[in-house]
Symmetry: C2
Subunit: 358 residues, 2 copies
């Protein structure tokens, strides 16, 4: 005997009586208990039961209409119903239990903008263990950087394909250059959009990996070409004989306000023992090397870093692009969100996003 539910748009739940508690809640993790054997279902849960034929129909308490799957979903009950339903159905089909991230579905819901609490495979709502805090967006929904939380972000594209991203804090650390001394006052020339350093000590490139040698010159010490960013950092430390303010000013002429933001991240990475080099070929700001002993024994860079202001708003399409590219070149995508300097910190939040197959 299949059951029917009663949908009340006033509080956006579907109530089901009969033996609903045992049938849907206890054994299959839908809804939350009311009095007796009655349960309350979120709209996506009710839609899923209709979809599977487990619930016969849902009666709208206002007008009395009897709604099948089709009629129920075309009412789109609740916000973002379509994308939430698609992800709910996808994760259920992959063998996960999941509940709306709110009381009374879960006792201690994850905060932030989480839509669902997803339980570890084999476990359910009653086991008290959450695997993922899941947020669901359509591909056209803006995601402010301030709303990032550790957990899973599911993006539903316009053709209902779902891409899952694992979002986490990811502070870069490394051991590069811990003992290396910088040279003092190397001669350098400032060109339109780069700097040439004449005859620096070999170690500047070969050990601490600053700059890029110009090829084909017969000198004891190679001529190095540095980016304005590297040059500003070196000038600030007296390693090259340019005025730091002049180099920074040139940097701002070339790339506007991005320059100072990138310079803060560059400096923070160097201070963490990580070597940042340009990420241009990957469309990122930096590619980073965590443990550079010498350029001869250089491995592959591990991270791609993109720099944004703290108030940045992500478009999911750009997230897909960045993360996909990083994955394709076996690196992890990290976003550096640059805010005001805070006491005791560098004002930068580091977040990694990686593709996830649940």
């Amino acid at each position: 005997m299949t059951l029917e539910g009663r949908f009340d748009a006033a509080d956006d739940v579907v109530r089901v009586g009969g033996d609903a508690r045992q049938r849907y809640h206890d054994s299959r993790g839908y809804g939350y208990p009311l009095s007796g054997n009655e349960i309350a279902l979120a709209p996506v849960e009710a839609a899923h039961l209709l979809y599977r034929g487990d619930l016969e129909a849902v009666v709208d308490v206002d007008g009395g209409e009897r709604l099948g799957f089709r009629e129920f979903i075309s009412r789109e009950p609740g916000d973002d119903f379509g994308v939430r339903f698609l992800v709910y159905a996808d994760l259920r089909s992959r063998g996960f239990y999941l509940s709306p991230a709110a009381e009374p579905w879960v006792a201690d819901p994850p905060g932030g903008a989480a839509d669902f609490a997803v339980f570890p495979r084999g476990k359910g709502p009653g086991d008290g263990e959450i695997a993922y805090a899941l947020r669901i967006v359509g591909e056209r929904t803006d995601v402010p950087a301030a709303e990032l939380r550790p957990g899973v972000l599911a993006v539903v594209d316009e053709e209902s394909e779902i891409t899952y991203f694992e979002v986490d804090r990811r502070d870069p650390t490394g051991s590069s250059g811990a003992d290396a001394a910088l040279p003092d006052g190397c001669e350098a020339d400032l060109l339109a959009d780069r700097v040439v350093v004449w005859e620096p000590p070999l170690e500047l490139y070969e050990k601490t990996f600053y700059g890029q040698p110009l090829e084909g010159r017969e000198y004891d010490e190679p001529t190095l070409q540095c980016s304005l960013l590297e040059a500003a950092y070196l000038a600030e430390r007296g390693a090259i004989d340019l005025e730091p303010a002049t180099v920074r000013e040139r940097g701002r002429e070339v790339e506007g306000e991005r320059f100072d933001r990138r310079l803060r991240v560059y400096a923070a990475l160097r201070e963490r023992g990580v070597v940042p080099k340009t990420g241009y070929k990957f469309g990122a700001d930096f590619r980073t090397y965590a443990d550079v002993e010498s350029v001869e024994n250089l491995g592959h860079s591990e991270l791609l870093v993109r720099v944004h202001p703290a108030g940045y708003v992500f478009e999911p399409r750009d997230l897909a692009l960045d993360v996909r590219l990083a994955h394709g070149v076996r690196k992890t995508m990290v976003f550096a969100l640059v805010g005001e300097d805070s006491a005791g910190g560098d004002g930068i939040e580091w977040w990694s996003l990686e593709r996830l197959t649940p």
Copy 2:
């Protein structure tokens, strides 16, 4: 005996006498002849000869200073000297002859914003055959879409690495759906950001590849989920029973003015026998299939298409990202530039960009 040149900033050339004509021009493709054996060199050509030690020095005719390589380049003679020199040196080291894309260096220079004419390997300026029209930009230089020309675009990043792109017109063509008829007035529901089509004929998905089936339902004909774009196209042709204007209005609510632009490109691709599906996972607007007979025998999509207005201005970093990703998934990146409808055309220009190793 090495020669010296005379640099005149008034006309930005370096003149060299002695046997310069035979030594630099006739056998090695630098500069253009003046009277007698004298030649004129562009600043990058003179810099390259200084760099290689072939030219001893360049004397500035104004002040009389004798300039070596270092002094000459820190004057940055001419626009964009640094990036032009780096690319000139790179292509020379790869065995190419190249000349400034202007008279009198070449008799029939390529137009547009080309900086150099690059000759086929083994051929020089006198052979009258140009392999590439080469344009050089730094990674921070804007490239208006209106300036795209068939040829090569060299982008020099902040650390002097060079990425070469082959730029060409690339009109998509295909054989998909040439004979297929669309259904008539299938029932459909418009949801917030997608459309559900109820029980359409199987061929709508399986032959003409519209939409995406919802899984797991026991029906003779599958329920299809379509993007607003697909739905607008189908509604305009009476294939589904929604008002075209209503679907388009919803599309604009969801993605603003991009919607109409994407719809024009979607329709143009379908008319060309190409099937466009969403490119979200690749950060593009569409992935396209040229020869779809049935979804069962579907190969891989060949193109990634990104839609821009005709007045768009590219940032080289975004070009690097798009092209790199396309290359990584073995597809070609195509940009669809959407302008005003023109008489007899669809107002769309199609350009492909591919990585090139010269």
